[in-house]
Symmetry: C2
Subunit: 666 residues, 2 copies
């Protein structure tokens, strides 16, 4: 605590910057940065291989502040070590337009590797990063050129470890023997409600050992001990490491140390002064960084530059020795897709018997996988059902990180976060599958992807009552609406095999967030198409799949996925009754909304008020397309267990219903 | 395996009924019932205290099939022991209208204690049941009259234990020392993808010990060993028990035992015959129940009746000795609310400075708690923020199960399932709090509540960008829409303190599913009201809070929660510009949709097309109320970190914007 050494003062600089920023904002969490400043300093000063001038350098160690509420710890370190984050930004903590938001946001602040705050996300995202690193190392490294060779470090908290996702991710990481994960666990025994004894008395060390982790425990304020434990963790290459750092939250605050009072509120002007006094700090200086402290921290710049250049040189040599491999590596890093790669998309012949869109998706995946070597993915224990298996690509295991088929286990939430981590890490294009119903289990990870513009593809199969006998526990109803409501998410529900191929194209080309492929269990006809309704129109989000004779149709039937065939059949019936309707297939609301007004008006002419939508899901939100005079055929209730054709019949998602509702409108 | 004893044949009856039902349906999971038949038989035959004639008898042991896909195990047991579930129902497995849906559904089949299938839910729901049992025992039991004294048994699977929610719930149960939980873990080492070695190699026993559970391991086919382990688990009163039953999935199937092939598909006619042969069963008989087997199982009826009557007699005596306590107990069981209990709702004086609706909610809770003794709840480590604390009610701990303030820890998902379990158990009216953003973390439990018509109240605070500095990771955007889209969910977003009081009333009186109170962090004016806009109109879902002078207004401004005050202010401005608008406060879409057409048309006259909605959230779905010509002011993007007033301003949720959009429409 006393400032006897320069390093002491470095640590206290982190503490006081954090205190001051929280105080200035009158908002934030000072206690965690104060408690973890020692351990974080050791990690950043002695171990973290990074280059502040090149925050996107591939082979940097990744650092994740899973306990994102302690954001000032990270912002302090970023500023002190020389990232493009000025002191003015720190002073502007939590203010409009600053680069220092309340919780770290990826893409917003250089050096922030992932968005954290919702607890457990960072923990699990790091597992995905380590998976990507291991995969690329296996694929590209040679004895002489270990171009992919970095650690994934993190700081995790009591709250992170209480969340269920930490269990899923830790169990998976242990299973996969991801030895390059090293997490410092800020065990301060205080959560927002008070002592963790109120709710959390498990033996976390024993728990992590049960997952196959290496576990150490140290005094988190004993810097040499922390240093030794990180060294030891590095030497443990077969197990992820958890270093339990026993710390004092709000360290240095005479009245708030070891208390929830320092967790989520500013210390208060008076206590800030008292704390600075206790830390041997000038009590009246704010945002004070002693010159020698800054100089000491900024050594990271030179060290970083050397490391970066060393790697660049190595990579150059690698490129000479292994030009093809190096090129592939670079392509993978840039997430570039081969030119005209949609030529690889399979074409499916029209076929009344047809195939499930999940089956089509499996074929698409296997068609494009050879041309897109960075594609890697799997399923949360539903590989066969989700059709996510890549032929001849091996299984991603601790013995074979080069494998591309990932068995995530029944761990949808960790899968979602791992997809985020893999995508953020760069070098791979990840996808993951489960039933659409279980999108609820990974929803917080989907949201992080949306918020952080992380591309990741979800293969959500068994997308409606069409899954049949498994019944209402497994039949999505509200899921389409609830996912469409998230900004930056691209929801794609293709109507047949060929739309599915193009939906994959839309998914892989979308960079602003996650893409969700919503696919059937049941077979659907592969539709007959011509020039005017080519499946490539999927990319427009909605298109006329069957037009009226008249220029202005009597009515518009619109549908998505498995209900498009119903609309087409209903249309045939209507024709016989001299009703000249148009059918619009609408695989993606988001893509359609992005088209220009002219196109949208062409597909859905404003003057046509007789509009019927059909989707075997909650009709929530369809008013947007059908207007106040239209009819949305959907499900305002949960499903039922039975053969699916019967459920459709009983719940009124039928051709005849479409016909009747259309006539009712006219 | 051979049928040397009657008990062997009992077990094989469970197996063959399950096989036959799955085969008849050509759909389902035979392997689990085959593997767990021995252990389940022991539990049901030797231990389970239940009365098939009174499936709702309070003091029955609860049995939860967390691995809900093995539903035929449960249906077989229910039929065999004499519940109102005929053999015809078993033959009708997974068919339309049957009582034997693909996964067990609460309320649908007598004897099914909770809806399972989505993995981990049953596990965590049982923890809630055990919490309720412990609470009521502490509150009502006397030495002589242990009226609340039962176990919560369950069968859990590899998949259950992989899910994150199992971690949260197990950690909580261990912390709370819920010794009456006894779970049999079907450790068959097979999941849908194949061997669990593909993804799941943790030491589950060590993991559960780290949570403070008692762990035993037995051969799940060694019935005497299973019996002994359950006896031992009962004797361990301070720790929940996990009995790891090593089993063979698909036990008895010559070609599919120990293989994923028996997990989720019928065995096939041929293999069914081979299996029956191997089990020493008549190969050609289907749904065969030997007479002596049925007789043996049906002894449960008499035993059950005796137990039921014994308890009834005890309760009668208890009523004589402790009439008041017995009356309270009965009231609690029936979930009855005191007559005119809304007289207890506090009234808040109009106040421009006002208070946050979360603060009002805290006051309401404390006003009504004394009159509703069954009210019990807490928060996922945000007690102070959610204002869920009940004064003078103690903390629910292992030393004091009578306490009413529950510290769930940072475990939103387990909290949701625990609320379900408490509500299903009966005797308590549970509530739980977290930030609205973290509704995503407990969404699967909310869905189970909706699907099963389980009343449970969520206190979701910090409901929009109005939470300010914590930033976009914590600011709900899509959550209102995504929750409104779920059938049977009542979403309530009150506009001020008095609406909050009535929202609580609506919540506690709603029995068809969960109620979600969506509350602000920031202070809101307590609005001035008269007879025509009394806060009790909250119960109608939407009402005219400020009417136009004209009978038919020029425009309608509608808003929910914190945006109602903005609409009211905008209305004042419009008045000055001679625009005579009406303001509608719309705390609950669901309640409003339930009103008759006349009321809805009175509030929102169809002829008024100039409609503006305002909600600091995704505008998704508002077209329902504003029509195709209206304007929805909302947020099509994520939020930002800053003081909240600035965020409102920058993102255009302002009085002036409402004024401008209204004028634009006119």
């Amino acid at each position: 605590m006393p400032n006897s050494t320069l390093e002491d003062r470095c640590v206290n600089t982190i503490r006081t910057l954090s205190i001051d920023a929280v105080q200035a904002a009158e908002s934030g969490h000072p206690g965690m940065p104060m408690g973890m400043a020692d351990a974080a300093f050791v990690l950043w000063n002695k171990f973290l291989s990074h280059d502040p001038a090149h925050p996107e350098w591939y082979n940097r160690d990744r650092f994740i502040l899973s306990a994102g509420h302690g954001s000032m710890l990270l912002y302090s370190l970023l500023h002190l070590t020389g990232y493009d984050l000025s002191l003015a930004q720190l002073k502007n903590f939590r203010q409009w337009g600053s680069k220092t938001p309340g919780h770290p946001e990826y893409g917003h602040t250089p050096g922030v590797e992932t968005t954290t705050g919702p607890l457990g996300q960072g923990f699990a995202t790091g597992v995905g990063m380590a998976m990507a690193e291991a995969h690329l190392a296996d694929k590209f490294n040679t004895q002489k050129f270990p171009i992919s060779d970095h650690y994934t470090y993190g700081i995790v908290s009591d709250g992170d470890l209480m969340e269920g996702i930490s269990h899923e991710a830790a169990s998976l990481a242990g299973h996969l023997k991801l030895g390059k994960i090293i997490y410092l666990y800020d065990s301060n025994q205080i959560s927002i409600d008070g002592s963790t004894d109120l709710a959390y008395t498990e033996d976390a060390g024993a728990r992590f050992k049960s997952y196959g982790w290496d576990v150490q425990e140290v005094d988190g304020h004993d810097r040499p001990a922390v240093e030794q434990s990180i060294t030891q963790a590095q030497q443990e290459t077969d197990k992820p490491s958890l270093i339990i750092c026993k710390t004092h939250i709000g360290y240095g605050s005479p009245n708030k140390q070891d208390s929830a009072a320092s967790h989520g509120s500013p210390l208060g002007e008076e206590e800030v002064k008292l704390t600075k006094k206790q830390l041997g700090w000038p009590a009246d200086k704010k945002f004070f960084i002693p010159d020698d402290v800054l100089k000491y921290f900024r050594k990271a710049e030179k060290k970083g530059q050397e490391r970066f250049e060393h790697w660049e040189t190595m990579f150059e040599e690698f490129s000479n020795y292994e030009p093809e491999s190096a090129q592939t590596f670079e392509n993978q890093l840039s997430r570039s897709l081969p030119e005209n790669w949609d030529d690889m998309l399979p074409y499916f012949e029209p076929d009344q018997k047809g195939m499930a869109t999940r089956a089509a998706s499996g074929k698409v995946l296997n068609s494009i996988a050879s041309g897109i070597p960075s594609l890697i993915g799997g399923s949360a224990d539903l590989t066969g059902s989700n059709k996510t298996w890549l032929d001849d690509a091996g299984i991603f295991t601790s013995d074979n990180y080069g494998g591309k088929n990932i068995h995530f286990g029944v761990r949808e939430h960790a899968m979602g976060a791992a997809l985020n981590g893999m995508s953020l890490h760069s070098g791979v294009i990840p996808y993951g599958g489960t039933f659409l119903i279980f999108s609820d289990y990974c929803r917080p990870a989907i949201r992080i992807a949306a918020l952080s513009n992380i591309p990741a593809t979800y293969v959500f199969t068994h997308d409606s009552i069409g899954l049949g006998e498994d019944g209402p526990t497994h039949q999505p109803i509200e899921h389409l609406a609830s996912l469409r409501a998230i900004p930056n998410v691209q929801v794609l529900r293709p109507a047949d095999a060929n739309e599915t191929a193009w939906a994959w194209k839309a998914a892989l080309e979308f960079r602003e967030g996650p893409s969700l492929l919503v696919l059937t269990r049941q077979a659907l006809p592969v539709l007959q198409r011509g020039d005017k309704n080519d499946a490539s129109l999927t990319m427009k989000g909605a298109y006329i799949i069957s037009d009226s004779q008249k220029e202005t149709p009597d009515a518009i039937l619109m549908a998505t996925g498995s209900e498009v065939q119903l609309a087409l059949k209903a249309n045939q019936k209507l024709k016989k009754e001299q009703i000249d309707a148009r059918v619009v297939s609408m695989p993606s609301w988001e893509l359609f909304a992005q088209q220009d007004q002219a196109y949208r008006d062409k597909v859905l002419p404003p003057e046509v008020k007789a509009r019927v939508s059909v989707e075997a899901a909650a009709p929530f939100g369809w008013e947007r397309w059908i207007g106040s005079t239209g009819t949305a055929i959907g499900l305002d209730r949960f499903g039922a267990s039975a053969p699916y054709e019967e459920i459709y019949e009983h719940l009124g998602i039928t051709e005849q219903r479409i016909v009747d509702e259309t006539k009712e409108l006219l």
